[in-house]
């Protein structure tokens, strides 16, 4: 596809998404759109580090939770304006990321995986203990609660995240990140400061995750602090990225839509929770047989039907 066609298709989709709250007034449908957009941010931000830079973060929930909790406190408990609170959420997530990132990235391989997994678990346990009570929005806010501003905020941040990845994938930064994913020795030998760029990717990734957390803090009427750090936030993001197409721009977007739809569909026919097992099977199939995920499947299908030339979207 040419750039113009890309641009007009993307523009069309954005316009449609802006119109969504005017077309659909049912809460459940708007919530569905809201969640899909939130998942796009959550998974696309994971993709920056996991897909482009090749560093598997199994503690994504830590940064989502840190962002959500910080934003909630800044907004509700300290009474500062919402945009400031959401930005604060992003920063809080990045601070945690740097604390774990500095030591873990000094070592290659699995140390980062283990470190992030454990960090999320520590935060989950600590916050269930020190903040055991549910954090409920005050009545004055609940009375005036509307999904529409939450939806638009979620749309804004999702667009921001996708745009960030689009820019990264076409920039010098993206080249550096991908070189780390492919081979760290060769990246160093080509002049890439691997430690620094891993940290940078981690910072960008967690900042965007923190923003997603901030939106969740604005959206959720009541939650328990520990629940923000539940591993499911990590797992959903990882599943979406791989099933959609790891290391691509469209992967997390397609993956999020697919994930939310299939989850909804499965919950109609299967006992609760089984959808996770279905996604587990899908996930393994993708890792073993379809490393490009749905994006690759669509490309193959298009190639077969149109007989067009091979095209590499990077």
């Amino acid at each position: 596809m040419s750039n113009w066609k890309h641009l007009s298709v993307s523009g069309g989709i954005i316009v449609l998404l802006i119109l969504v709250p005017l077309i659909f007034t049912r809460t459940d449908i708007l919530t569905f759109f809201f969640l899909t957009l939130l998942y796009i941010t959550l998974s696309q931000s994971w993709n920056i580090l996991g897909g482009y830079t090749g560093q598997i973060n199994l503690g994504h929930a830590a940064f989502f939770g840190a962002g959500a909790l910080a934003a909630r406190y800044i907004w509700l408990h300290f009474g500062l304006p919402l945009p400031l609170a959401i930005l604060g959420g992003g920063l809080a997530a990045t601070i945690f990321a740097m604390i774990i990132g500095f030591p873990a990235f000094r070592l290659r391989g699995i140390y980062f995986v283990i470190g992030t997994l454990v960090l999320a678990e520590i935060l989950r346990l600590v916050f269930y203990t020190i903040l055991p009570r549910a954090d409920v929005m005050p009545m004055r806010l609940l009375g005036a609660y509307s999904l529409i501003p939450r939806y638009y905020l979620s749309l804004l941040i999702a667009l921001l995240t996708v745009a960030a990845v689009y820019w990264i994938s076409r920039s010098r930064l993206g080249l550096g990140l991908m070189s780390i994913r492919e081979d760290e020795d060769a990246a160093e030998a080509s002049g890439v400061d691997t430690q620094r760029y891993k940290l940078l990717a981690f910072a960008i990734s967690t900042f965007l995750t923190g923003l997603a957390g901030g939106i969740y803090a604005y959206y959720s009427a009541a939650f328990r602090a520990g629940g923000l750090f539940e591993p499911v936030w990590t797992f959903d993001a990882v599943i979406i990225v791989f099933v959609g197409g790891v290391g691509t721009i469209l992967g997390p977007v397609i993956g999020s839509v697919f994930f939310v739809l299939l989850k909804q569909f499965l919950s109609l026919y299967l006992p609760g929770g089984i959808h996770v097992a279905v996604f587990g099977v899908l996930f393994i199939i993708v890792v073993l047989f379809l490393p490009g995920g749905l994006v690759e499947l669509i490309t193959r299908f298009r190639k077969r039907t149109s007989g067009g030339s091979i095209q590499i979207d990077s």
């Binding site: 080249l175 070189s179 160093e188 030998a189 080509s190 002049g191 290391g247």
Partner: protein
């Protein structure tokens, strides 16, 4: 003098890989480095390029001490290398591979468009002009080696370390590679070349060094070195 190595020592546990090694390379030379398997050639490359830190000694490049610098600093300073077992970026295009060298190496270019233009010329130079948008994972050994050399050239090195570029090539591919290495030398880049194929190394080197058990046992023009008794012994004595 572009490269000067003084009293370099590197041991792995009890095994001394590089033993009190001294060497000097002048600008514009093509230095051949030979020696039996395990004599320390790749270790020496790893020490110069910063992958390994020496236990003792000093490495000076352009009169500047670069001992113990990280590999990316060494590369940005103007020393590039290739790997014995090639390490191109597999899931990226040829052009992207080379772009990384151009945008991160020494004299890096920040503008992607400018870098792209320069990289296309480098790809033409190594003979990959027609494959700029192919994934490297689809390439055979010859093209992977070309990608790696192109990536190293794109970092704009003043000194290039080539580690067994000819290994695994058939005679006609070797001819091409030989021409390429000579052309690189002609463009003014200083080269240190590790190679097992004697015919090749004698042909391209302006000076030859022989490494055995981590020490340089002979040095001189190719003609002098092959007549040296210690060298004959090192190669045939075992």
């Amino acid at each position: 003098m572009i490269l000067e190595v003084k009293n370099l020592l590197k041991a792995f546990g009890g095994l001394v890989a590089i033993r009190d090694l001294n060497l000097a390379v002048n600008e514009g030379e093509i230095v051949g480095l030979i020696g039996p398997n395990g004599s320390g050639k790749t270790t020496l490359f790893n020490l110069i390029s910063g992958v390994l830190k020496p236990d003792k000694g000093e490495i000076r490049f352009n009169e500047i001490d670069i001992t113990g610098l990280k590999p990316h600093k060494v590369c940005q300073g103007g020393i590039a290398r290739t790997f014995q077992l090639t390490k191109p970026f597999m899931q990226m295009t040829t052009l992207q591979n080379v772009m990384i060298g151009r945008t991160y190496g020494s004299e890096p270019v920040r503008s992607m468009r400018q870098a792209e233009g320069e990289c296309e010329r480098i790809l033409e130079f190594v003979g990959l002009g027609g494959k700029r948008l192919s994934l490297v994972a689809t390439f055979g050994l010859v093209d992977r080696k070309r990608v790696e050399i192109a990536r190293a050239l794109a970092t704009k090195p003043r000194l290039l370390l080539l580690d067994e570029t000819m290994a695994g090539l058939n005679p006609s591919e070797m001819e091409d590679a030989l021409r390429l290495v000579k052309a690189i030398g002609d463009s003014g880049i200083t080269l240190i070349v590790v190679e097992h194929v004697m015919k090749v190394i004698l042909d391209i080197s302006s000076r030859l060094m022989v490494l055995n058990y981590g020490e340089i046992i002979a040095e001189g023009t190719p003609q002098e070195v092959v007549r040296d008794e210690k060298v004959v012994e090192a190669y045939l004595g075992e």
